[in-house]
Symmetry: C2
Subunit: 190 residues, 2 copies
């Protein structure tokens, strides 16, 4: 691996973290390299800089493509494929979350739905189903929220995130505004 020390440390870290993030070392390193590279890279650049075999890099790139995490581009008079990550890091995060949801959440959601359709035979099954229902509701709530948030413009999103718990203050204010003197809420609120 021939990289400036700073870059190398970054790339190696992403390789190590790869396994914790459910991708492998090669894929982690390739992505890290693409992310910090000032220019698009071709597969052979990666082979040279990371020291993996050509085929390993090829498979890693396929994997990244299946995650929609890289852009493929070409240069005039050059048959090679060049790869980059989006310049906008928020775009990267959005894609990452979207894909992880697709792989890590959606299958569970659909199994839960399926199992909740069934009629429980025993008390044990009934209890199991209650527990699954709780889980299903929670995941649906989170997904609903996510589905709203992902449509927000980045600027708004940043604004919201920066506020953190201050949103709560606003909610409390809203509650005061819309709550009748006796403590009950107005009809519109729920």
């Amino acid at each position: 691996m021939k990289l400036p020390p700073l870059v190398q440390a970054f790339v190696l870290h992403f390789g190590e973290m790869g396994s914790r993030w459910g991708i492998n070392r090669t894929v982690g390193q390739i992505y890290a390299l693409l992310y910090i590279a000032p220019e698009p890279l071709c597969a052979d650049d990666m082979v040279e800089q990371l020291g993996f075999s050509r085929s390993n890099v090829s498979i890693g790139l396929k994997e990244l493509q299946s995650w929609n995490l890289v852009r493929l581009l070409h240069r005039p008079d050059d048959r090679r494929d060049f790869y980059t990550t989006p310049d906008d890091i928020w775009q990267i995060v959005r894609t990452l979350v979207e894909e992880r949801k697709k792989r890590e959440v959606d299958p569970t959601l659909s199994i839960l739905r399926e199992l909740l359709m069934q009629t429980p035979g025993t008390a044990e099954e009934r209890h199991a189903q209650d527990r699954m229902r709780e889980m299903h509701e929670l995941i649906e709530l989170l997904c609903g929220w996510y589905d709203d948030v992902r449509r927000m413009e980045t600027e708004r999103l940043v604004q919201l995130l920066s506020m953190g718990a201050k949103v709560q203050k606003i909610l409390e204010m809203k509650d005061r505004l819309f709550t009748l003197p006796g403590g009950r809420r107005t009809e519109k609120e729920g």
Copy 2:
């Protein structure tokens, strides 16, 4: 494996998803079983119901304990350890997020901080560092938000999540309230 079909399907699913979630099959199945079991279980119950070896279950339970995901409890006149998950599923989610952050985000944050302290030698390193800085800022923003949110009471949290993008409406309202006629913001905002 001797379990009611409904329970079995659930448990098997969590086993399969285990690898995508960075835990293994055994751990996934054990947790699923504990989650839907109406009563606390001891290790031998799990051996019987899941068909793993005793030692495998033991290691799986240790792993779950290291994630703070199970509670250990004892019965009078019984030396065995019994295990459960918290009744409150929100508590489970909170723990899960906390632990994943600890393992999947914090190490990256600290490497980034470290690398950003260094003085870049070349233009390439300078560019790499800029890119790392973007990443660092984004992660800090998310962590700051998370740090606020995790302290919220569950009821408030649910309220917030249910609102989804409606929060945006409130923000816009707030903007209107605090924005001077000319379009500039008041000093307090920003």
